[in-house]
């Protein structure tokens, strides 16, 4: 076990009214750019999952809903200061820009620099907290120890009570991971690739064992901590906002069914809060990996996220959405509409009598509007305009619901008819597909996702 150095004394010049910029090295701008650039392909930037009020004696609080502070040019939210501790990595994962074989500028923060940047950005309300990941410098243990030191300093010296998301480094000592877990709000270990064989091929330094090991450890830690909280209310919290993971989509030939099955089992067996999907971008221009002339598979990623929501909030199972002989999502329709069209025997649903779970299955009714309907119908009878005000998307829902026994206007409950009408809703389909025209529309074939047909799969 490495010696864990802990800095307990506050820098003498530190007051809450501003930390001097002089404690930043002159090359801080360059460092920040390099290490941000290296971290940007990590998807998770959420600050949700825990409500914690400030104790009046430090800086920061957290909200369970999370707060996004800005949105970058790609439309993704910027919630946390997302940086790597270092990109001087000794691993050689093929999909990663920071692998030891690539010729890029390298940099490493000091724990002090990370603290100063976090606190100063936080005071100005630029960020909601820190997302700290890292390349592997020297060894997994050494890296995890550096991360721990930065967190320790931030939490104790600067009394930072905002959000911290930290990566557990695969292969690090369980004790170090546990110690970091008591300082962080959320931890994640990246699954990277959906199957063990793909992982072996693209990330030879990592293995399923070193990834799932820490994941299981964190899960057990959270369960154990819950029991402690029952016995002793002031017990320190371990990873209170839960753990998440991410998978790269489109670098290896897995289909949607495999990916979603993996996600489902992660939710069930590892109790994860979120699984993130990251459309593959060939940053290294590696010839053994797919070249994607149509850009990253964004539509496929979008469909996976939609299905992921169906698993977590709408009580769907993967078997209902996909099967071995229909292994990919429909490009033209979202997974819920697609499911509804294949199960017209469930419809139409009567708004006044259907239970909450049945309402959730209607396309155009979301969790919020279903809750509102269930509450509102106790007081009085609802009509279609009322549904619209409760947030139901009627142009999708009208084929599947009745209100007091009436449909909104006479429609045939017929697959082709509904499908045609749903597709005339232009927001359903991304523009590039729409402009191609609908001529080759063969809905229930396995349409391959946009751009993917051009993928070269390495043998």
């Amino acid at each position: 076990m490495n010696a864990i150095t802990t800095a307990t004394t506050a820098p003498s010049s530190y007051t809450h009214a501003g930390a001097p910029a002089s404690r930043l090295s002159p090359s801080i701008m360059e460092k920040l750019t390099i290490l941000t650039d290296a971290a940007k392909y990590d998807v998770a930037c959420t600050s949700s999952g825990i409500d914690r009020s400030g104790d009046g004696d430090g800086i920061g609080n957290t909200l369970a809903c999370g707060i996004c502070h800005s949105f970058s040019a790609d439309g993704r939210c910027v919630s946390l200061l997302k940086v790597l501790f270092t990109n001087e990595c000794i691993f050689n994962c093929a999909y990663c820009r920071n692998n030891c074989n690539s010729d890029i500028p390298r940099a490493t923060f000091t724990p002090e620099e990370i603290c100063t940047l976090t606190i100063e950005f936080y005071r100005r309300n630029y960020i909601e907290g820190l997302f700290l990941s890292s390349g592997i410098i020297v060894s997994p243990n050494y890296t995890m120890d550096l991360i721990y030191q930065a967190l320790y300093r931030l939490r104790t010296v600067y009394r930072f009570q905002g959000y911290i998301h930290v990566k557990a480094i695969p292969g690090a000592d369980p004790l170090l991971i546990e110690k970091a877990g008591f300082l962080a709000d959320r931890m994640s270990v990246n699954l990277e690739l959906p199957t063990a064989s793909a992982l072996k091929q693209l990330a030879p330094c990592k293995s399923r064992r070193t990834i799932l090991g820490p994941m299981r450890q964190i899960q057990n830690g959270i369960v154990h901590n819950k029991h402690e909280m029952i016995e002793y209310k002031k017990a320190p919290r371990f990873v209170p906002a839960g753990q998440s993971t991410q998978m790269i989509i489109g670098a290896t030939p897995e289909n949607d069914f495999q990916i979603m099955s993996v996600a489902e089992s992660l939710y069930q067996k590892f109790n994860l809060k979120r699984v993130f999907y990251s459309a593959f971008v060939n940053v290294c221009h590696d010839e053994t990996l797919p070249m994607l002339p149509g850009g990253p598979p964004l539509l496929r990623e979008h469909r996976l996220y939609q299905a992921d929501w169906l698993l977590r909030y709408y009580h769907f199972t993967v078997e209902e959405l996909l099967s071995a002989d229909r292994p990919n999502f429909n490009v033209y329709l979202d997974p819920k509409c697609d499911w509804a069209l294949r199960h017209l025997e469930f419809f139409p649903v009567e708004i006044h009598t259907a239970d909450y779970k049945t309402l959730l299955r209607v396309p155009g009714i979301g969790a919020k509007s279903a809750q509102r309907i269930v509450k509102a119908r106790r007081g009085c009878r609802l009509d279609f305009p009322d549904l619209k005000k409760a947030g139901v998307v009627l142009k999708r829902a009208l084929y599947f619901i009745t209100c007091s026994g009436r449909m909104m206007y006479p429609v045939k409950l017929e697959e082709d008819y509904i499908c045609r009408n749903l597709l005339s809703d232009r927001t359903q389909i991304p523009r590039d597909l729409r402009e191609e025209g609908y001529r080759q529309l063969s809905l229930f074939d396995d349409v391959s996702h946009g751009g993917e047909s051009n993928v070269r799969i390495p043998v």
Partner: protein, 263 residues
């Protein structure tokens, strides 16, 4: 019909509610208005309500005691909203009055807020959501700058009167900081002193020159933040539409990272 014309503020509307209730004209014959209309209708009697802090406090107390804090909060959020932004079935003040009357009459009390098919409840629902949404947007997009004196200063341009929401949040978040949040539209400011509670003050005579006197480090951290913001975007995924959808352009001018991109 008796029309009670009240000032467009929480105190103004609550005083209107008090006066209307006390007038004993019958709830059916009463209507409240918070809009400045100079278009009087022929057969209605117009009664002007002068805001009275004592009356307003009595209404607040009754609401909290009889209907609970959640209900009271919803009504306040609704009163803070700008009622002219969207087409509503009735005036803001009237919706508040009708809702309170309905809630106090029915045994289920605060639950009336769920009956969305009632026009007054729908009004309350939409206005509350309007304020809450903008409040949350500004929790996200408000930016402080450090002044020479070490005070953090932020300027916002909200449509609804969301300052109390923001002040509450940042008092909890930054207890050891001195900060000022200046609402340039409503000319009010929330002032917070380290380890004290905040207060909301009239700021129509605020000297904005002082707010441009930044500390020497401010520039450094702004630059660092802007370069972080530029770098974090993935070029292959550029999506300007999604960005605007998520951070509407009217918020851009008050953030350091996007104000330079406004054309």
């Amino acid at each position: 019909m008796y029309v009670f014309q009240c000032e467009d503020s929480i105190d103004g509307i609550f005083t209107g509610v008090y006066d209307a209730w006390a007038s004993r004209c019958g709830h059916k014959n009463i209507c409240l208005s918070s809009a400045d209309n100079d278009n009087f209708t022929l057969f209605d009697e117009f009664i002007r309500v002068t805001p009275d802090f004592e009356k307003s406090r009595k209404v607040s107390r009754t609401l909290i005691r009889r209907l609970g804090v959640r209900f009271y909060e919803t009504i306040c959020r609704c009163a803070m909203a700008d009622g002219s932004l969207r087409k509503l079935p009735m005036d803001k003040a009237n919706a508040i009055y009708q809702t309170i009357v309905m809630a106090l009459a029915l045994p289920e009390g605060a639950k009336v807020l769920e009956y969305l098919s009632e026009p007054c409840i729908l009004c309350i629902f939409e206005l509350k959501r309007q304020t809450a949404n903008e409040g949350h947007h500004l929790l996200e997009f408000l930016r402080f700058s450090e002044l020479k004196s070490g005070i953090l200063f932020a300027q916002i341009h909200p449509k609804n009167d969301v300052l109390p929401i923001l002040a509450e949040h940042f008092t909890n978040r930054l207890p050891l900081e001195n900060f000022i949040i200046y609402d340039a539209v409503h000319a009010t400011a929330a002032v917070h002193r380290a380890s004290k509670n905040y207060m909301i003050a009239d700021a129509s005579s605020l000297n904005l020159q002082l707010a441009n006197d930044y500390s020497p480090e401010e520039e450094t951290f702004r630059k660092l933040w802007c370069s972080f913001f530029e770098t974090i975007a993935i070029e292959e995924r550029q999506n300007a539409k999604l960005q605007i959808q998520n951070i509407p352009k009217r918020f851009w001018s008050d953030t350091p990272e996007l104000s330079g991109k406004l054309t």
